[in-house]
């Protein structure tokens, strides 16, 4: 006998997190084709429906910068020092490859879901 929906919401949350993890990187890279600092980036992503908490965003930005996909610069704006991020040339290349991969996954998934509708 299976335990049915026991732990269902928790499982769903974990699966959603896993699903989002890879997408967030693509979204952040895509958003940083235009230079932004952390807070406005977070707001822009949230406005487009992709809420990301700062505890996830800032470590992700640092990691992407360490990998050479982003470049950053501290600059003063509105009397406050802010760190501005933008996509590096290497990041642009990776982003286009990731978008292509995402399109492939998306079309495969659509085909699979169409073949076996819920």
């Amino acid at each position: 006998m299976t335990n049915g929906t026991q732990g269902g919401p928790e499982i769903l949350e974990n699966l959603k997190l896993e699903l989002r993890r890879g997408c967030l990187i693509v979204a952040v890279l895509a958003q940083l084709r235009t230079e932004q600092y952390g807070y406005t980036l977070r707001k822009a992503l949230a406005d487009d429906g992709l809420v990301i908490d700062e505890g996830t965003l800032y470590p992700l930005l640092r990691r992407l910068e360490t990998q050479g996909l982003l470049v950053s610069q501290w600059r003063e704006e509105d009397k406050r020092n802010k760190r501005f991020y933008r996509l590096s040339p290497a990041g642009e290349q990776i982003l286009s490859q990731l978008l292509e991969e995402w399109q492939n996954i998306n079309s495969s998934l659509s085909k699979i879901v169409e073949e076996a509708p819920l």
């Binding site: 952390g38 807070y39 505890g55 800032y58 640092r62 020092n81």
Partner: protein
């Protein structure tokens, strides 16, 4: 006013940032804290514009609580490290189980055995009473456990370190994996040994143990009590049944529910018979060797009492064997067809 409240609500942010900084590596502290501080101030600034006034201490507290505990916030900036990684973790748990089963459990059983059967050991360890003996054994057991598990953990942490650098566990060959095994398959060699051993036992049993006088020499004579005939026939019958079952297993080497049940019944009967024999005072008389009648009776009684004292060990062994046999029946019953060598090997039930 609480101890932690301050006159300037914004001071809470400084305290929060200081607590986060504590957990960060020195080389990145300043950079991360500056960015985190900027983000917090941006958020508070936005809220301030929305409310049309400065945030009070409670509202700032809510913002900081939403951010999470300082140690968790800092942890997200740190590289994900583990003492024992996912590659070694299953092997680590396996070794821990082996250590618990082959070292810690025997330790407990040996202690129980010594306390039960060795009067000198018992006297030596119960000088402070039984509770004191259990207490000192408990602390000694914890110390042993701590050392054993600690040593295994340190070894695996070192292996993890080496594995992370060299990736030696990535080099593996599917050809070196153990052959696929059906747990319900009976090894033919085992069945052959079982047939031979049971038949040899039967012959020896009839030859030596059929008479109540099992040793009759000028210097010593050992006589068994009349109740022995039950044990003689009982053990002989069980040996024959076991030989037959092993013979069938040899011809059809896969456990079935019937054969596994017969094995449970014979092992259960053997254990029960053995326990009865130990408790029945099966030895009637030992004479000879210049023993006086009184001394011979004393020796006979001592042997019978000694045999009876081993009853708990035999009983425990019998229970373990019965559980293993019962597990075999359950395994055979719940077996599902297994895909082996490209063919479906259906479980015989």
């Amino acid at each position: 006013m609480s101890k932690t409240s301050s006159s300037d609500p914004m001071e809470l942010i400084d305290r929060y940032l200081q607590a986060v900084a504590f957990w960060l590596p020195k080389s990145q502290q300043q950079d991360i804290i500056a960015e985190l501080s900027e983000d917090l101030h941006s958020q508070i600034e936005e809220k301030k514009i929305g409310l049309g006034r400065a945030l009070n201490e409670t509202e700032i507290e809510v913002v900081l609580k939403q951010r999470g505990r300082p140690v968790l916030v800092a942890n997200r900036y740190l590289p994900q490290r583990s003492l024992i990684g996912p590659v070694l973790l299953p092997i680590y748990w396996f070794v821990i189980k082996v250590v618990a089963l082959c070292y810690l459990l025997p330790w407990v059983l040996a202690w129980i055995g010594m306390m039960s059967f060795s009067s000198s050991y018992r006297a030596q360890h119960t000088s402070a009473g039984w509770l004191g003996a259990i207490g000192s054994a408990w602390s000694a057991w914890w110390f042993t456990t701590f050392i054993a598990l600690g040593a295994v953990t340190i070894l695996f942490a070192a292996l993890e370190h080496v594995q992370a650098k060299s990736g030696f566990l990535e080099n593996w060959n599917p050809r070196k994996l153990p052959p696929a095994r059906n747990p319900n398959q009976i090894p033919r060699a085992g069945s052959v040994i079982e047939v031979v051993v049971n038949l040899m036992f039967g012959v020896w049993w009839i030859d030596v143990m059929s008479s109540p006088v099992i040793l009759d020499r000028p210097e010593i004579r050992i006589v068994l009590s009349p109740v022995w005939r039950y044990f003689f026939w009982g053990f002989l019958l069980l040996a024959l049944i076991n030989a037959v079952v092993a013979g069938v297993n040899l011809a059809r080497p896969c456990w079935t529910v019937v054969r596994a049940s017969i094995r449970l019944a014979t092992n259960g009967a053997a254990s029960a018979l053995f326990c009865w024999m130990l408790n029945a005072g099966a030895l009637a008389q030992i004479t000879g060797g210049g023993l006086s009648a009184a001394r011979a009776l004393e020796v006979t009684n001592a042997v019978n009492v000694g045999l009876a004292k081993t009853l708990p060990v035999v009983l425990a062994t019998g229970v373990v064997i019965a559980l293993l046999d019962a597990r075999r029946i359950f395994r055979v019953k719940s077996a599902v067809p297994v895909q082996l060598k490209g063919k479906v090997s259906a479980a015989v039930v």
